[in-house]
Point group: D2
Chain length 445, copies 4
């Protein structure tokens, strides 16, 4: 069932209900005097559909709405998805949905979902989605799959509620943070931990030989084409050079005061020497341990050694801390992340973002004393997907920033980050089909 848990559906329809309320309000006299140009609340759809990125709606005359430029984001970029993952209870979710800011009035006051009288209905649409979905692994151990914010354009973490439930049921809970220690993990620490009140005991950093080789400057992966030969052939210098990327990941975990274990997710083409090179460097630069894991071949048994290392690391003393206080200025908070976590020289706030920050400051601390959720490429530690390894001497452009007050953060767009992907010239879906006799899906992988 590709619809899986239904979370995306619930989020889409909840998000779009608010969108419809906004345009309906504009059309029926706009009593709140909303400035149509100020509206930052898009619509969302759970399809990669680039033709919906920039659209004009409300065409066709007086009874068809008010013409204005807007667009669709991919569902997982929705603030509602972020709220689902960060809400700690039904009550908390109700309040967060009410706090969503969709734009401002013509005289510059923020307008919320509560003001539009939509937050109640939104909560009703989300009430079942708040319940974590219990799935099982191939070895029949339980796992929660709940909420789906990507780690690049959203905060990239599984839900707080699922973690809460899991902690009641198990001795150790492992929760995933999407993409690297510069993305999901940074947001886990600075955003999710702030709202959950929970702190991690250890971090697991996943690495592969081929990814590090690529960060070492060798080979190029093109979607839809077979892996290039260079990535498969042994190349110790490339692996070692690529480890610079891994080292920054390890150092990033130290910034938050917690021990980390590197999990080397092995492939059959990896050579012993390559794996050892990673282990050596990882330990040298501060990982508690670096363990080869081959659960892909041997299932749970293949990850046992890793599990032991993580248990050991988790029992070490740790002193978790946030990277910045909420009271710091918006600029300072973004600069802290950019310089400490990405290794940048600084940030360059572009005019659109600068104007928004000015407005948030005018609105007061409720809109500024928030953590920052950076939307950034996952292909580089920087904002530029072509800068591999551990880039230096770059400045991060802050193109836009939105107040996701409901989710509880400011949402900054770095570089040319897109919030709606497009399909390639030959979409993967072309190969997907069903065997109508057996009901079996073909072409998914």
């Amino acid at each position: 069932n590709l619809h899986l848990t239904g979370d995306n559906h619930a989020v889409s329809v909840t998000h779009n209900l608010l969108s419809a309320f906004i345009d309906n309000h504009l059309m029926h006299g706009n009593k709140m005097n909303i400035d149509p140009f100020s509206i930052t609340w898009p619509r969302v759809v759970d399809i990669s559909d680039r033709a919906l990125r920039n659209i004009i709606i409300g065409l066709g005359g007086k009874d068809q709405g008010v013409p204005r430029e807007t667009g669709f984001d991919i569902c997982v970029a929705s603030e509602v998805m972020a709220i689902l993952a960060l809400a700690t209870s039904l009550k908390d979710m109700r309040e967060r949905l009410g706090r969503i800011i969709i734009g401002s009035t013509r005289d510059g006051k923020p307008v919320s979902a509560e003001d539009l009288k939509c937050a109640g209905a939104m909560t009703v649409l989300m009430k079942d989605a708040l319940k974590p979905n219990l799935l099982q692994t191939l070895e029949n151990t339980p796992a929660f799959v709940h909420s789906g914010p990507f780690g690049n354009i959203a905060h990239g973490n599984s839900s707080i509620v699922a973690d809460q439930v899991a902690l009641k049921c198990a001795d150790f809970v492992i929760t995933e943070s999407g993409f690297g220690a510069d993305l999901g993990a940074e947001k886990f620490m600075n955003i999710k931990c702030r709202y959950s009140g929970l702190t991690p005991n250890a971090a697991v950093i996943v690495a592969t030989v081929r990814a590090l080789k690529m960060h070492g400057g060798v080979g190029k992966i093109v979607a839809g084409k077979p892996l290039p030969d260079e990535l498969v052939r042994e190349n110790i210098p490339a692996v070692e050079k690529g480890c610079e990327n891994l080292i920054q990941m390890i150092e990033n975990m130290k910034l938050f005061g917690i021990p980390s274990v590197v999990a080397i997710n092995t492939f059959h083409t990896d050579t012993r020497a390559e794996i050892e090179a990673i282990k050596t460097l990882a330990r040298e630069y501060g990982a508690e341990d670096a363990i080869e894991s081959n659960h892909w071949a041997r299932g749970g048994a293949g990850a046992e050694e890793l599990a032991e290392a993580v248990v050991a690391a988790a029992q070490k003393p740790s002193k978790f801390g946030f990277l910045y206080p909420l009271e710091a200025s918006i600029e300072e908070k973004m600069e802290t992340i950019a310089t400490k976590v990405y290794g940048a020289d600084g940030i360059d706030i572009l005019p659109v973002a600068r104007k928004k920050i000015k407005q948030f400051n005018e609105w007061g601390p409720k809109y500024t004393h928030l953590p920052i959720c950076m939307a950034k490429t996952h292909l580089s530690l920087s904002h530029d997907p072509t800068l591999l390894g551990r880039p230096r001497h770059f400045t991060v452009p802050i193109r836009d920033i939105t107040a996701s007050v409901g989710a509880g953060f400011l949402y900054a767009l770095l570089g040319d980050m897109r919030t709606m992907p497009g399909l390639p010239s030959k979409p993967a879906g072309e190969a997907v089909d069903i065997d109508v006799n057996t009901g079996k899906i073909v072409g998914l992988f």
Copy 2:
């Protein structure tokens, strides 16, 4: 759970996947030479959002798609929803999805979902939705709720698959056709029965005193306002005049050769004399029986007498027949429905529709030997919502017509029929909220 069976979600995402494939094809060189102006496949959303009726997509430059005018329909108007309800098996659904026509090439050939290599992926997204959803009534009797095409803008019938399963499990199966005998029921007979191969033994026509009063020219219901007093006060002449509407419904069932029973859905304000007036006229004009039913107050027990009457009617001999042969011309088929079922003098095919019919004829019988699904107001037997009772001397304008080859019908738009509703100035959703302590929904009714 307002998402209920998830059918709408599956239909939305399946429909929109095809939309994304279309625009993706246009952008990546348009190898099939699709004429962008010919595209009749919109996008859909399960929200009443009039600002999406007429939109321009693909703006923002070369990498953002090809600019063109299009729009969103409400999800239930999607051809995918119609297919879900009319498919008889997974295999049949796969084929129907492949047959969907989205427009034509610049040299006038039809372009299908199969041509776009999207039908396989669409079927995968729909495969679980094809399984009927088993719910239970308040008295714990089983009921299938499956697929949701409205009876005015779509074909208005529950799924064939649900009926098939039900017929394996029960002696009597009751299936609903949305709105009146001029809408859901006409489409049940002429469309659904053709594809299911099943025929009804009897029809139940639901009537209320207040609706007939309104058809008799008394009172006006305004959404969001309390019922006007005239509809509550006894008014025999109005009820009798309004019965003209009911009589046409009874006569319509006779056109198809099956017996009918009128179920008078009573309210506490109805008077004995009013109910008797309906009974008398219904029987006089050809209903097998007319029974008062008050299941609203007494549950199943309140409908027992009605059930007995339906059983009796169903055992009468019947000779079911379609209203028109598929080989009749498109114009003849539409005229048959308009004159026989609606009581019109004839039809007036507007230029846009005329051009499309010409094209379907050029494409051949696969595109013309199909039943017709009329999109029409449910507020009148005619196309004009202000014509109450049993209107006479009107001509039905056929504004547009689309080939829903996947669903297996031609889809005609009558008058100003909209395929995307709008919200009122005070949307009902404003009153909806949740009690965060109990999780109980408030404000739904």
Copy 3:
């Protein structure tokens, strides 16, 4: 000099100044509360540019205007052009420009160019254009060429001011009314004569053998292709049949109470018998005379006989009268023109036009006691360009109607009349060039 008199330039820039004022007003707070959807004032350009027919302006954000749907008309369709031709003095032009209605407020009051404080500046831009342009014919006789409203989409007559000046200088003044007696001439009588206070003494109806043949059902002229052979070969029956069209023209002149002379504009392929057929029928059906004119070959001398006949006709007694009083209802006035001048059975006012008429009536007599300017095809006496000869049994659809209060008429659109032409697939301009040594233009004809 293709810019000729500069009238079109002055009209374009004057018209577009008002357009800019409107959108500027909307953007700067819209203090008059103009309903953007009510605006009927387009922009104009003196180029056939179909891509400007339907456009969306004001895109790009807050400082770039308010997004709305609008379009461009061809310059000659501008109300400013109509005003130029109908103004009787500078003072009158100033007042007429001020009376232009561009739309209405959200509470339904008309908004004028005066309200927008634009009429003064508009008059300044038009002040020199009001002076008639004196040109000379190839034989050096004087001629005024002043203003350029087309007879199909505008009122089709030369300026009142030019006629006034001419009447001071000559014994006989000939003024042109574009297209047929159903177009320019009807508007000359009912509109221009009302404002000038002048009345004609006689009408000259121009006919050609080939045009009448075509109205008789023979041949088809396609732009850019040579004349079909059938139009050149002698065909008396076709000419006679086509004369039905001419006869209605003659009858139309009688409706206004003035004598008419038919001028047969001969070509070298016309045969004697064809010309005689026209003469006979024209005289039989009421023309004072029908004269062959070959000024195309012989210059002024070739039109001498015609001139004598016109002088004779002009001296006959005549009793000029309007076809309708201004106080008649809008519907009556349109119906009078359609039935008496076009030979229609009646008119069918479509919803958009009906709504506008309702509004004009609410605004009062200043907006209704006006003559009607019909925008209609010149290819048929009816609204339908395919109905040749003298069509019968047709109903004229009134698609839209605008209050051109400045020009002093209501402007009705019949059928699919376009106010902005498009270029053909091979524009005539492709052949136009200049000999850079001599400065001579080539390819114009």
Copy 4:
């Protein structure tokens, strides 16, 4: 006559004819395979109309053109206007119009007006406009007023043809270059002199006390408000500080190897000491002379002393030279202007411009060995209107660049330069009117 010479009208209609040809070509099958996204040829209008800056055209279906995003520029920014001013003969104008590049094909080849077969017709429309307009001053001396490209967004110089004619008729010819020595004058030297083959003997730099005061940091002029008091009161330090701006202007003229005279355009509020301060500094920093001129009060007699000084300067030896060779790279040429003429540290070529430069280089020397026409604010020596005096330590952003191959230059947009102005909230036109009795215009000043 506000239409003055008709040049703007001729340019507008000529420019827009090409626009119509482009969209007509797209619609009729696009045989040249033009990439719609590559089109850089806008439409123009001679009105400040910001709502036309960003528009979507071609809406309404198949017969109404192809939908695409485009916009209008102000007429004076048209390449046709630039061509009018730079053409040396009818033949040259014909060729330049043919060389206009409107965009490229889908496979990256340039598309010209010649390719579209429009250049001949364009020349015909422009042929009379090429003849200079002879006007007279208030003292009845002759003056040519010909072509109107602004010095900020265009090249800012009167026509070559007018200069050629003038040189045949007079001993000294004075020609104007719009705005400062960083704008019109730089373009005069580097662009116009290259095409005319003529070289100046001396430059006159116009200065006013109040403008220099403002560059010295005092007072702020707001359109529509009276001059602030600080600009009127004597303030020697401010004048001296502001002279830094004037000094760069003087130095700029030296860069081109020609002597310059400063003309101090006096007002009655200027004090003797202020004027002397300018004279002293101007002479000290290299002007041949600095002369007070009060022709505003005394007519020609008031400029006699200035004229003598200019005659003297013109007779000094000079060695005129261009600032850069055409063969230099595009980047180098822009950098030369920015660093030498504006005093910038360098340039920053933004991605859009960078991509275009890459394309021009691929197209070859015909598209790169051209002078550069910079579109830049006239309020500062830099690209930023807030940097007064003689700014230092700034980098000039090159936002976009277009190949105006017809005009014969590359057209670079610096910073947020707009090519279509907007009206203020109270347009000056509101005050303009006409006295209908006398025909006199009121409210123009």
